[in-house]
C-alpha cells in the first residue's frame, strides 16, 4: 500500500464566475514555495496564467450506476492527471510536489472529488489536499441567494477566500462574512486583495498532512464551539443556521462512544438515500475500544479515508459531527444515529 503522506496533494480551486479564481491562482503560483506546483484548468479565461506547468482539461464525464451527479468519474481529469504523472516519472516535466485544479465557475466540485477518491489508479498517485472556494465580496451575497452552485461551492469548502474586498466597504463585507461563517462554520475564512494571500496556509496546511492535521481538526472544533456559544443551540438540538428555505448547518454531540461498524453501516445508508442533500459531513469520533480519535470527512456521497489523530485536540472526548444539509431536520439524523449505534448492542451494558 502506498504511504498516504507520499502522495501528491491535490488542491481544488473553485468559485463562482468572476469570483477571482484565476487572479488568486496567478498570485499563488508566484509564491516562492509554490513554484513546484502543477496546474490543471478547465478553460483558459481572460486572465492568462504565467506558469511553466499548466495543462488544459476538457470535460468528459462518465455517470455511474447510482445516477447521482456527484458520483461521476471525470474521465478527462483522470487522463490529464495520469498523463502528467507519467511525464513526471519520466522526467519530462518538473517533479511537481502538489497539484492545483481550477474548476469552471459553474462547476459542481463534487465529481472532481469523487474522481480523486474513487479512481483506483489515481488514488495510488494523488491525494486530496484542500478544497478552496473564492467568493466575490461585491456579488457574493447575491450569488448565494440565487445560485445553487454557489451555495454548494461554499458548503463543501475547506478554505474560503473572500476576494475584491477592496472594492466594497467594511460594512458591506460583514453580512457576507457572517453568511459564509454560518453556511460553513468550520471552513477557514480569509481575504485576498488582488490575489495577495498567505499561500502557506492556503496550500500547504491540510487535513491529511501529518504535520498539520491536528491543528486543522482543532480549528473545526473551535469554530463549532464558538458558534455554539454564540447561539447556545448546538447542544440543545435546534437547527442553528438556516440559509434560505432548506440548507442548514448543525453539530451533533454524541456522548456515548461510537460503534465503528454500526457507524459505517449508518453513514453509508444515509449517504445512499440522502447523499445529494448531505452537502458536507465531518467530525471527530470517540470510537468504542480505542483511546484516540478518528476523523471523518465527506462531501455528498464521497467519504475520505478515515484518519486517526495521535491525541484528542482539546481534552473533550465526545464525538462531534458537523452536518451541512438541505432539508433534513437535525432531530431525524440524531434519532437515527442513536438507534444505529445500538445495532450491535452495548458491550458495557451486556
Amino acid at each position: 500500500m502506498v504511504a498516504y503522506n507520499t502522495l501528491v496533494p491535490v488542491f481544488v480551486l473553485t468559485g463562482f464566475l468572476g469570483s477571482g479564481k484565476t487572479t488568486l491562482l496567478n498570485r499563488l503560483l508566484h509564491h516562492p514555495s509554490l513554484v513546484d506546483a502543477a496546474v490543471l484548468i478547465n478553460e483558459f479565461g481572460e486572465v492568462g496564467i504565467d506558469h511553466q506547468l499548466v495543462e488544459r482539461i476538457d470535460e468528459t464525464t462518465v455517470l455511474l450506476d447510482s445516477g447521482c451527479l456527484c458520483c461521476t468519474i471525470r474521465g478527462d481529469l483522470k487522463a490529464s492527471m495520469l498523463e502528467l504523472h507519467g511525464k513526471r516519472a519520466r522526467g519530462l516535466v518538473p517533479r511537481y510536489q502538489r497539484m492545483i485544479i481550477e474548476t469552471t465557475g459553474l462547476a459542481d466540485p463534487s465529481p472532481i472529488l469523487y474522481t480523486l477518491l474513487a479512481d483506483q489508479t489515481l488514488r495510488h498517485h494523488y491525494r486530496l489536499g484542500s478544497l478552496i472556494t473564492t467568493v466575490d465580496a461585491v456579488n457574493g451575497l447575491g450569488q448565494l441567494e440565487r445560485e445553487e452552485e454557489s451555495v454548494k461551492q461554499v458548503a463543501v469548502a475547506d478554505r474560503i477566500v473572500l476576494t475584491k474586498t477592496d472594492l466594497v466597504t467594511e460594512d458591506a463585507v460583514e453580512p457576507l462574512r457572517e453568511r459564509l461563517a454560518h453556511l460553513n462554520p468550520s471552513a477557514w475564512l480569509t481575504r485576498a486583495v488582488n490575489g495577495d494571500i498567505d499561500a502557506e496556509i492556503l496550500l500547504q496546511a491540510d487535513l491529511y498532512d501529518p504535520a498539520t492535521k491536528g491543528a486543522e481538526v482543532l480549528r473545526w472544533i473551535e469554530a463549532e464551539a464558538l458558534r455554539s456559544d454564540e447561539t447556545g443551540a448546538a447542544e440543545h438540538g435546534h437547527d442553528t443556521n438556516r440559509h434560505g428555505p432548506d440548507i442548514h448547518t448543525f453539530c451533533i454531540v454524541h456522548e456515548e462512544p461510537i460503534d465503528w461498524t454500526a457507524f459505517g453501516i449508518w453513514l453509508t445508508m444515509l449517504l445512499h438515500s440522502h447523499g445529494e442533500e448531505v452537502l458536507r459531513v465531518k467530525g471527530i469520533l470517540n470510537v468504542r475500544g480505542i483511546e484516540t480519535p478518528v476523523v471523518i470527512n465527506g462531501v455528498q456521497h464521497i467519504i475520505h479515508p478515515p484518519m486517526h489523530l495521535e491525541a484528542w485536540p482539546n481534552g473533550d472526548r465526545r464525538s462531534r459531527i458537523v452536518f451541512i444539509v438541505r432539508g433534513i431536520p437535525r432531530a431525524r439524523i440524531v434519532e437515527s444515529l442513536v438507534e444505529f449505534n445500538c445495532l450491535g448492542g452495548v458491550p458495557d451494558a451486556a
Binding site: H272, V294, H308, L343
Partner: protein, 113 residues
C-alpha cells in the same frame, strides 16, 4: 481480480477500516479482516430484515445480497449493498425512515460475537 470468479476487487472501502486500522491507515488483513466482515454482515442483516433481504460475505472480498424469492446480487461494498437491497425489496433503504427505526427497536438483543 479473483482468478476463480473473475470478480474485480477494488481497494478497501472506508467502512472496512476498523478502529485499529484507522490508527495505522492500513487495510485489515487475514483473520482481522475476516472477523470484521462477519461482524459487519451480522449487523447489516439486522437492518436488512426490515426489507426482507439478507447479506452474506463471499470470499472475504464481496457480499451477496439475497431476497426472499431467491434473487441474489453480488456487490463489492456497503453502498452497493443498499442499492441491491432496494432493487430486490422495491423500497428505499433510508436510515431516517421511522418505520425502519421502529422495527429496529423491536429486534431482539444481538448475540455476542
Amino acid at each position: 481480480m479473483c482468478a476463480f470468479c473473475a470478480l474485480m476487487t477494488g481497494t478497501t472501502h472506508w467502512t472496512e477500516a476498523g478502529s485499529d486500522v484507522a490508527r495505522t491507515g492500513e487495510s485489515p488483513v487475514g483473520r482481522d479482516r475476516f472477523l470484521g466482515r462477519i461482524h459487519r454482515t451480522k449487523l447489516v442483516n439486522r437492518v436488512l430484515s426490515h426489507y426482507g433481504c439478507s447479506v452474506s460475505d463471499w470470499a472475504n472480498s464481496s457480499y451477496i445480497v439475497r431476497g426472499q424469492r431467491g434473487q441474489a446480487t453480488i456487490v463489492a461494498n456497503l453502498p452497493q449493498v443498499w442499492m441491491a437491497a432496494e432493487q430486490i425489496a422495491k423500497k428505499v433503504a433510508d436510515p431516517l425512515d421511522p418505520a425502519l427505526l421502529a422495527a429496529m427497536r423491536q429486534l431482539p438483543a444481538p448475540a455476542r460475537d
